[in-house]
Amino acid sequence: MTATQLAFFVLAVASTASALGVIIFKNAVHCALSLILTFLFLALFYLQLGALFIAIVQVLIYAGAIMVLFLFVVTMLASETDETELRDHIPWQRWVASILGVVLVGVLSYLLFTGTPVGGSAVTTGANSLSHVVNTQGNTQAFGLALFHGFAFPFEVTSLLIVVAILGAMVLGRKA
């Protein structure tokens, strides 16, 4: 077993365990911390795949900014969040949902193995390929070139989305 494979399996077990922690822990703060751990493991996966910029953004935006927002709200509603777990109206829901989750993993894996394999002529080659641009100009430069050459319009629409989200948060947050 090579070092890459060993790293993958350690990361796979660790991220599955921390993701299970998100849905198993009773205390919402523990769930949030477990989710931060999952995001950090995913950032390591991205590093392994050579996506340096995405890995850094994952740590800064997801594990940093978004989860801080989550923890603010969790601590704000802390008195309420423990009590709500006790009232379970449908007792069999948990078991059925877990079985359906296992079925979902099985079906997705089956589809992955029976579907058309990715690759062949779809792989980008030559001067446009990601590895070529990364080697000649650098990782973040490759990301920026792809973003502003092929995805300039979606990038601009994203700013509209953020404005709408800010306005929505202000409307929801003001004193009624």
Binding site: T16, F45, T124, L130, A146
Partner: protein, 100 residues
């Protein structure tokens, strides 16, 4: 280099854990965390396919998903906080009316 299917199966496992989390938890905050987990599982498969196809397009999608996730969390947490303000109770099973 690991085969692409290993990353895709990892992504499927994380996605299914997120689905189960949405189904079994009663706390809307944890349901939100499970949705974030599902978004991240999809991001992992985007990055894996991007690396396999040697193209930056998959990373662009991850970038856009990240922005959408941030906007979604801001609005969603705002809604949860305002529901808590009016009802003093955030059990999702109780949220069956749109009246305040």
């Amino acid at each position: 280099m690991m085969p692409l299917s290993a990353y895709l199966i990892m992504s499927a496992i994380l996605f299914s854990i997120g689905v189960v989390g949405v189904l079994i938890r009663r706390n809307p905050l944890i349901i939100f965390m499970s949705i974030e987990l599902m978004l991240n599982a999809v991001n992992l498969s985007f990055v894996a396919v991007s690396s396999k196809l040697d193209s930056a397009d998959g990373q662009m999608f991850v970038f856009l998903v990240l922005t959408v996730a941030a906007a979604e969390v801001v609005v969603g947490l705002g809604i949860i906080v305002s529901i808590f303000r009016t009802r003093r109770n955030i059990d999702v099973d109780e949220m069956n009316t749109l009246r305040g």
